[in-house]
Symmetry: C3
Subunit: 316 residues, 3 copies
């Protein structure tokens, strides 16, 4: 999409040399052919080092924009980014793509739907009522139980098993809100990558990234009804027990264990080899490793036990 | 159904002038051609002003029944109401109805199932393994991702997006229990209405009303794995984050925000423009607006922070 | 499978008289044609009385193995059990079995998939996108709403209703972990049995047993998004409200009520006729009956109310 068109859509002035914008991206990851934006003052620190070809800013942040990067000035950059995200969203399905490629010895139910452009490896089992979207990729020896949905562009590795009803790649929960309290959808143009040897229970929901990927790394084990927000990264061999949930952009190191009905807030970093007891609500990044935590807000497990003892005495 | 038949089914005496009963309804909403019931002493106050044509009561509440309304006296009105609800339930599917009506430029997967009597607007995308029930209505420009189920009689507005695996209109959790502890289903003969510009995440469950409608108003944004009980009303532009859940008949005003894994008990009224932090459990109606709450049972967010501070000191 | 083959797979010495092993089972339930294992020191007490034909043990527990039972000695019995479980897993589908048997007056959507070997009773309604696996059995007068999945070998009783998207019989969350933190799946070769007159809401997940059955007894009522772990037993007429979850091998007596977003840890025994308020987290077995509980960790409901009063005073 031409920069002049973009400027027109969002009502920004632009009279420089026009060029093609291929996609939108964060300040950190955007390249010269990409458009970025400053969603809030929290991101102003990332402006100077950004390689974005153009940037949506408000008038207050205009002077931070580095030389060589086109600034598009609007009142509400986040709202305009939401508006533009729609234009960069690929079609939900694309029937002009070639028929799906299916590896040898793979069984696909005639009641499954595989969109054009999808690639499925060898020795897979794709059961009834499964949907695999455009340009999605499934590795070898992977089993997709009934009614699994893999949205377009998502990747599932080798030797995975996904149980019935699980959804991989639905849109992350992203929208801008204006002063009237109205919301505008931010199209989620990233994907989900599930690496090799991952087992996922039934009726889980893993959201696709807004940009980039939501990442489930090798050997992870996930129980039923688990929710993973957009742009999360789940470390190798981590274990997420039933009904746990993870807000957007939280990353955890390898062999992290989250107990039943636990959860983590967004944008946290959790060091590897920690265990979080059932119902733990992680509200801050965890830098230590090899520990056990509990409670909401999160605390060390021993502290939590001590607290329960104190509370028990309180009512005696 | 004739009143004499109804009396016979529930073992009540009736020797007045017979007439046709079209449906069952609450004391407040029932009209002259409808049958109501007094489920518990909590509802006795609604008897006098009810316009119901007939009413199932026990002998203790018989004298409260207004003149002109037929009283059917039984031992356990709630149990008999449950028994009767079955007779007023429409068939799950009705193939005598005309073929579904599909608007122009709407794409329907050949692996979707649209029941007779359904109406779908223009420019919609209905993906594989979607089910749209008898007499359901979908507006224009709406996208239903794979394996979405819309039960019979439910209505989805314009410009909506519903993500994979979400269920709109399953039966509300209603049953009567006798002294032996056995349960009898109360057929849920209402529906769900989703207004315009609503986005709903994956694997959510919205229950149909027992009478009337469960209502999701304009511009609402709902994340994944959210449960909405029968007869709830979600105000315009409200935001319900992942794994939150709402018991029956709770209403919330516009721009209410419920954080992750939060919830509300049933039969509450929540004023508009309030925010409930993650894990909040709302146990009472909220009359103030513009505030932030937290905790279970619910309290002001500042109180909750103060409490956490006190508790932290308790274990030092 | 011959015992010599089994010994070879797990690298154990065996030079006795070879015989056929039909399946794997727990120490308590294994018979002479079955293989058992000692997963941890917790189970050493069950060795002496086991009727298993053979047993996987480590060198420390070797001397406990009763006469007449073959001991297969390995370093990590649980890991080797996981490795072997794969060999005893039946194929996901088995098309050599006869076509499904469907009772009279049963309606099956042409968009449902019924695997070979399945049996469905009379007067059932099987809606679009339902999957019923190999050797599964459904009784009479049962309704399966759209996109319900019943995995192979599971049994659903008479007069049941299962709402859309619910999954019966996905694999229990079982795996062994080695010293490197890598996991190996334990194939779940048991099933789920749902008895008569059970209603189950939408998008629930009930896991199949590792051995034996996960059991939902007569007259149970289950709301939406409820998770039941492998080998649980839910007593007659129990009520499980929305988003509650139950870890593996927990049993509860009849007319147990679990409120919304509540849960129980694994391997607990809960006496009948108890009620657990919303959000209760049951962390220990409950031996009394007829009481109401709340809180996490669980306590009597009155204690919980008293505690909330104390906490409220703490911040005044």
């Amino acid at each position: 999409m031409k920069l002049t068109e973009i400027a027109k859509i969002i009502g920004a002035n632009f009279d420089g040399v026009d060029f093609e914008i291929d996609s939108m991206n964060t300040l950190k990851d955007a390249q010269g052919n990409e458009l970025s934006f400053v969603a809030s003052s929290k991101y102003v620190k990332d402006i100077a080092s950004s390689n974005a070809g153009a940037m949506i800013v408000d008038v207050k942040t205009l002077e931070e924009v580095p030389e060589g990067c086109v600034a598009l000035v609007v009142q509400n950059p986040y709202w305009e980014m939401a508006e533009l995200s729609k234009y960069f969203a690929p079609p939900i399905e694309n029937n002009t793509l070639p028929s799906p490629i299916i590896g040898s010895n793979t069984t696909i139910s005639d009641k499954a739907e595989i969109a054009n452009g999808a690639i499925i490896g060898e020795n897979c089992t794709v059961m009834a009522h499964v949907y695999i979207g455009t340009d999605a990729v499934v590795g070898n020896n992977t089993v997709l139980h009934p009614s699994v949905t893999v949205y377009r562009d998502c990747k599932i590795g080798n030797d995975c098993m996904i149980h019935a009803g699980t959804v991989i790649g639905s849109d992350g929960f992203g929208f801008a809100t204006n002063k009237l309290g109205e919301h505008k959808k931010i199209y989620q143009n990233g994907n989900v990558i599930v690496e090799d040897d991952v087992e996922i229970g039934s009726n889980c929901t893993f959201d696709r990234a807004v940009f980039g990927s939501t990442l489930i790394k090798k050997g992870v084990r996930i129980d039923n009804l688990v929710h993973i927000g957009h742009n999360c990264e789940i470390g190798e061999y981590s274990v997420l027990v039933g009904q746990s949930g993870f807000a957007g952009s939280t990353t955890m190191g390898r062999n992290t264990v989250f107990g039943a009905q636990s959860g983590a807030a967004g944008h946290l970093e959790i060091a590897p080899f920690n265990t979080f007891a059932a119902r733990t609500g992680v509200t801050k990044s965890i830098k230590e490793s090899g520990l056990t935590f509990a409670g909401f807000p999160v605390m060390g497990h021993r502290s939590w036990l001590k607290l329960q003892g104190k509370l028990a005495r309180l009512i005696k």
